[in-house]
Every structure is written in C-alpha cells, then in structure tokens.
C-alpha cells in the first residue's frame, strides 16, 4: 500500500523508534561516524537552544531578562539568588493567564469529545453500510480535508451574531466540531476499513443490530484511531489562535493563545512576562508530548493535513 493521504495509523509501529532488528550492528568509529554524530548533535542543539533560552529566561528576574542575555547565567548557574518565580506569579495572577488556562481546558475538552462521537457513527456507516451516495459523500469529505477554515468564517460570524453566540464557549465548541469533522471521519473510516470484515459480518449473522455492533465491537476495536484523533484534535484546539480570536476574542473567556498574543502586543518591552506566559501556554501540549509520545506522533502524523 502506498502512503495514505494523511499518514495511516499503523497497527503497532513506533514512529519514533529505530529498526527493531536485533542488536545494532557493531560500528567502527570511522571519520564518517564522527561526522554524522557531530551533524546530528549540531542540528539538535540548533532546535533546542531557542526553547531552552526561553525556559531559562522565564526563571530570571525582570531586570536580568531585560538587560542581559539568558546565556550569561552560565557564568554562575549555582547563584540561586538569580532564579525566581516572579514572572510566573505575575503572569498567572495579574495578566490573567491562570484564568485563560482554565478557559482553554473548558474550550478544548468538549471540542475534542463531541466531534469524535459524531464522526465515529458516520465512519461506521461509511465502512460497513451500503447506501446510495456513499462514495460521493466520502469523496466530498476527502476534498474538504484541505479546504482552508477561512471559508467558513465570514458567514459563521454573521450567523452566530444573530443568535448572540459570538464570544461564548458554545460558539467555539460548535465551530471546532464542524471544522474537525472531515478529518475525524477520514481517520476513523480508514482505520475501520482495515478491521477484519468477517467479525462484523458474523455479528450480523448472529442477529446483532448495527447499533450493537457499533458499540460493542467496532468502537472498542477502533481505540487506537480514536486516541490518535483525540490527541490531534486536542492539541489543534489548544494551540489554535485564529478560531479563538474570531469566535471568542479577548476578555473573560479568552484562551491561552489569545492571552499570550495580547501580552506580546500590549506589553511591548515587558519581556520577562512573555517568557513565563509562553511556557504556561505550552505546558499541556508538552506534557502530552513527553507522556504519550507514541500516540502523540501517531495523532499528529495522521491528522496533519487539516485545513
């Protein structure tokens, strides 16, 4: 099989792993080997240093962040008087990042669970039921995968405006449910199509209704795909700025990305606060990254074409 349109969710391959064929071949430390190591090390440092610098800065005092480079701490890293949580304190309580963090959770959890439910039913029908229009509808879903979300914004803002929904959580939940749907259907249907058909057929022969087969057979068997999509959608919604800007805006209901972006805009030279703010906004995605790396990678690679 060629590579799927978005990467398929493979059974049990660890995308971050290396070849699993026995012990690694013995390697001589040739000049080439040293070069390879140096190159990889160099690239890794290049990738890590910007984030690391910000992390270091977030624990430094205001004056220090504004006047000296973060790398100067390594002159005396054990001088504990230079480390402080003041930026975090200020960001969480004075800049509203604590409240925004809560809002992000409130936005993200329903916006993840509800589309999965709806998409799972649809994916089941697309996979195991025959009906006129099936192919065409699914082709439309595939086409919609790459459509930029911007297509929906102008009319939706007008419609939500008529019902006074702009700025409410309900508006973002609905919007994300709609925007996440094509991808959810696509991922789940592709996975379900790889399930052994005989099991579903024998369930039908035994007299199980579609409804029962769905709940007691197909949903449990599809857990890898459900989890992959859940992680993708969770991160996508958590990290989203545009949908939040348009439907939620700034204020009491603002999410972490908006809070951070406003800090960048408003504070101008309040550098020290940006550092802590950025890390608070990143902590959940990074935790997911480190704790569930395998699922995380699968989710992201499966869902990366989202429009």
């Amino acid at each position: 099989m060629s590579q799927a349109v978005p990467a398929p969710i493979d059974g049990d391959v660890d995308p971050m792993g290396s070849r699993e064929a026995g012990p690694p071949p013995k390697r001589r430390m040739s000049a080439g080997g040293v070069l390879v190591r140096a190159a990889v090390l160099g690239l890794c440092l290049l990738w890590l240093v910007p984030t690391f610098g910000l992390l270091v800065s977030s624990f430094r005092a205001e004056e220090a962040v504004k006047n000296t480079g973060w790398w100067t701490v390594f002159k005396s890293p054990l001088d504990f008087s230079q480390w402080t949580l003041a930026s975090y304190d200020s960001v969480i309580f004075d800049q509203g990042m604590g409240n925004a963090f809560l809002n992000s959770i409130v936005v993200t959890v329903p916006a993840t669970i509800i589309p999965i439910m709806i998409a799972a039913f649809a994916a089941y029908a697309f996979t195991f039921m025959r009906f006129p229009g099936r192919e065409l509808l699914f082709i439309i879903v595939v086409g919609l995968l790459v459509v930029p979300l911007q297509v929906a914004f102008v009319p939706l803002i007008q419609i939500f405006g008529q019902y006074n929904l702009n700025g409410t959580f309900l508006a973002v939940w609905l919007a994300h449910t709609g925007f996440g749907m094509p991808l959810a259907i696509y991922i789940l249907r592709n996975y379900m199509a790889s399930l052994p058909n005989e099991i579903i057929e024998s369930a039908a022969v035994d007299g199980a209704s579609h409804f029962r087969t769905f709940w007691s057979l197909v949903v449990p068997m599809s857990v890898p795909a459900l989890a992959a999509y859940a992680i993708f959608q969770f991160l996508w919604v958590w990290n989203d700025l545009l949908v939040a800007l348009l439907f939620l805006g700034a204020g009491d209901n603002e999410v972490v990305t908006i809070n951070l972006r406003n800090m960048i805009g408003d504070l101008g030279q309040e550098w020290h606060l940006l550092t802590a703010g950025a890390f608070i906004s990143m902590i959940i995605p990074l935790a997911v990254f480190f704790a569930l790396q395998r699922f995380f990678v699968r989710g992201l690679t499966a869902g990366s074409v989202k429009g």
């Binding site: 060629s2 590579q3 349109v5 978005p6 995308p15 290396s18 690694p24 390879v36 990889v40 690239l43 890794c44 990738w47 910007p50 984030t51 610098g53 910000l54 800065s57 504004k66 480079g69 100067t72 669970i113 509800i114 709806i118 039913f121 649809a122 029908a125 039921m129 509808l137 082709i139 439309i140 086409g143 919609l144 790459v146 459509v147 930029p148 911007q150 297509v151 929906a152 914004f153 102008v154 009319p155 939706l156 007008q158 939940w173 449910t177 709609g178 749907m181 579609h210 409804f211 991160l235 700025l241 990305t257 951070l260 972006r261 960048i264 550098w271 990143m282 995605p285 990074l286 990366s304």
Partner: protein, 327 residues
C-alpha cells in the same frame, strides 16, 4: 468554578444528547418495515455528521463565495469590485508574492531537513536516535504563538550604546563585529520573510522527519545491498535507490506542509502583523474582516485562497481513489 461546571454540563449534554439522539432515531427506524429500515438506517448514522459538515463548512463556503460579490455589510451587490480593489492594492499583491515565496521555500526546506535528520539519525545507536528525533519533533507540540514568542527572543535586538544584546542572533552578530540590526525590518531580498519562514521550518521539520524516517526504514535492505555490490557509492545509493522508493512519502509531506503554508497566519500576525512587507494572504483576510470590518473583501480574499487550494484538492481526491482501488 462556574466555567468548569459549564464545561462539564456541555460535555454531558453534548455527548449524552448525541447518544440519546442516535439511540432514539435508531429505535424509531427499527420499528419500520425491514426493507425501509435498511434503507433509512445508514442516513441515521451519517446524518448528524453530514448536518455538521454542511452547516459549518459547505454552506458557509457557498455563502462566502456569494458575499465576495457584495459590499462590506453583505447588503448590496458590487459585482467584481472587491476583487478589483484587492488586485489593485499594492499590499495584497505583495502578500500574494510573499505567500508564493513561503510556498516555494518552506515545504521544500522542511522535506530536505527532515530527510537529512532521518537519514543521519538512522546511523546512530537506537537510544541516541530516539533522543535526537524527540528533540527535532518537540516543536510540533508548540503553538504558533508559543513558537513566535520563542523566536521573538532569538531575533530581539538592542541598539543603545553600551546595552548588552539579549537576543541570541544579535549577540552572535555583534560579537562578530557587525552593527546591531532590527532583523524583522530588513526588507531587502525579503530577508525578514525568510526569518519568519525559519520559525515554520523549525516547527515542521520534525513532522517531515517522522514520516520520512519511517519510509527510509521501510526501504528493503536487499535493494541497498545489491547497489552496494554493484559498486555504488553511498551518495549514489541514497539518490538512486532510497529516494525513488520513498518518493510517495516525500510527496505526502510536501503537500501537507504546502497546505499549511498556504494559509499561514499566526506567525505573521504575531511577529509583524504584516509590517515591513511581510504580509501574507491569510493575514490580509483577518485585517479585512476584523480591522476594516469589510465582509465583502474578506470573502474575496478567501475565494482567492480557495481557488489556490483547488489543485491540491483534486490531487488529494485522485490519490485517495488510487489508494481505494488498491485496497
């Protein structure tokens, strides 16, 4: 507290409501004569999904096309005026050019860097490989706003005499004897655009690496061995044996990053908001819609974006059909 309660209610009502809806509809359909039951039931299963997609994507898309021919409040027809104004606008044309530049640079750069790391890391010991890949992949967890904040600190510059540099890039260049420069204001050769692209490449290389690494590992060893026996050099093996076999994956990665880059918004919005000739199409959309409140022109920008996406869409559908045929 009320918010959390709200969310809990939303989850329960949303999920519970959906389950109840499906259950009730299902129960109703099961009372139908069996011939009808089989005909109607699939639509019960896909109905809500189709309704949601129709309401939040298809209907608004059609509506957007219609609005693009109307005035700022969508009240009167203006024909092609919105498009004419857009394409006569220097700023929008420059945004189009910048987007094109992003499209030319970022997908290719992500693929090349991702492939480089995938191939190099493949030669390390398993633990080292895993760590290296995690480091490169980690930025994928970070939001565009978060990434922008990180890079604001890299690109920061201080100009006053005697001030120390607090941004890494300026610290290095001034150490090397150059004068401090405001990096994101350098318009010559679109240098500031490239600095913004660096952020996107930094974010996407890990994604490219993960997919390409899996593809590289999937290349059968005997094809490589055969080439080696024939006396091919490592470089020849890579370009003549490995690359052709992983080409489908290269295309997938390229397309994915391409789609992402076509509608790049957050990075530009946060870093420069289009100042110093860095604007892109998605950011002009946001400006028209929110800052100028011109729904007609905003819709026209979206239509331009839609038209640009159509070739990718056709390609995706074709690809999907081929895949289905091979299932």
């Amino acid at each position: 507290m009320i918010k959390i309660l709200n969310a809990v209610v939303a989850i329960l009502a949303g999920v519970g409501g959906m389950v109840a809806l499906y259950w009730v509809l299902n129960a109703v359909v099961e009372r139908l004569p069996s011939r009808w039951e089989h005909r109607v039931k699939p639509y019960i299963f896909i109905g809500p999904a189709i309704a949601v997609v129709g309401l939040f994507l298809v209907y608004p898309a059609v509506q957007t096309i219609i609005f693009s021919f109307a005035d700022k409040n969508s009240e009167a027809w203006v024909g092609l005026d919105n498009y004419r104004v857009l394409f006569e606008d220097e700023g929008f044309r420059s945004a189009l050019v910048n987007n094109l530049l992003w499209i030319l640079v970022v997908p290719a750069a992500s693929v090349v860097i991702g492939l480089l790391i995938a191939v190099l890391a493949d030669r390390l010991r398993p633990t080292a490989e895993k760590v290296a890949k995690s480091v490169i992949f980690m930025p994928m967890a970070i939001s565009f706003v978060g990434a922008s904040t990180i890079w604001i600190f890299v690109y920061a510059t201080r100009f006053a005499q005697g001030d120390q540099q607090i941004g890494l890039l300026s610290a290095i260049t001034t150490k090397l004897g150059f004068d401090p420069v405001a990096w994101l204001s350098i318009e010559r050769w679109n240098f500031n655009d490239f600095l913004l692209m660096v952020i996107m490449i930094w974010l996407q290389a890990g994604f490219a690496m993960v997919l390409l690494s899996a593809a590289v590992k999937g290349v059968p060893d005997d094809t490589i061995e055969a080439a080696r026996i024939d006396g091919a050099s490592e470089l020849q093996i890579f370009f003549k044996v490995v690359v052709p076999q992983i080409w489908p994956t290269v295309i997938v990665v390229f397309t994915t990053v391409l789609i992402l880059v076509m509608k790049v918004f957050d990075i530009v919005y946060v870093m420069t908001n289009g100042r110093n000739e860095t604007d892109v199409v998605a950011n002009t959309f946001f400006k028209e819609l929110i800052e100028f409140g011109d729904d007609g022109r905003a819709a026209a920008v979206v239509v331009v974006l839609m038209v640009a996406v159509i070739p990718v869409m056709i390609y995706q559908v074709r690809r999907f059909r081929m895949q289905e045929a091979g299932r």
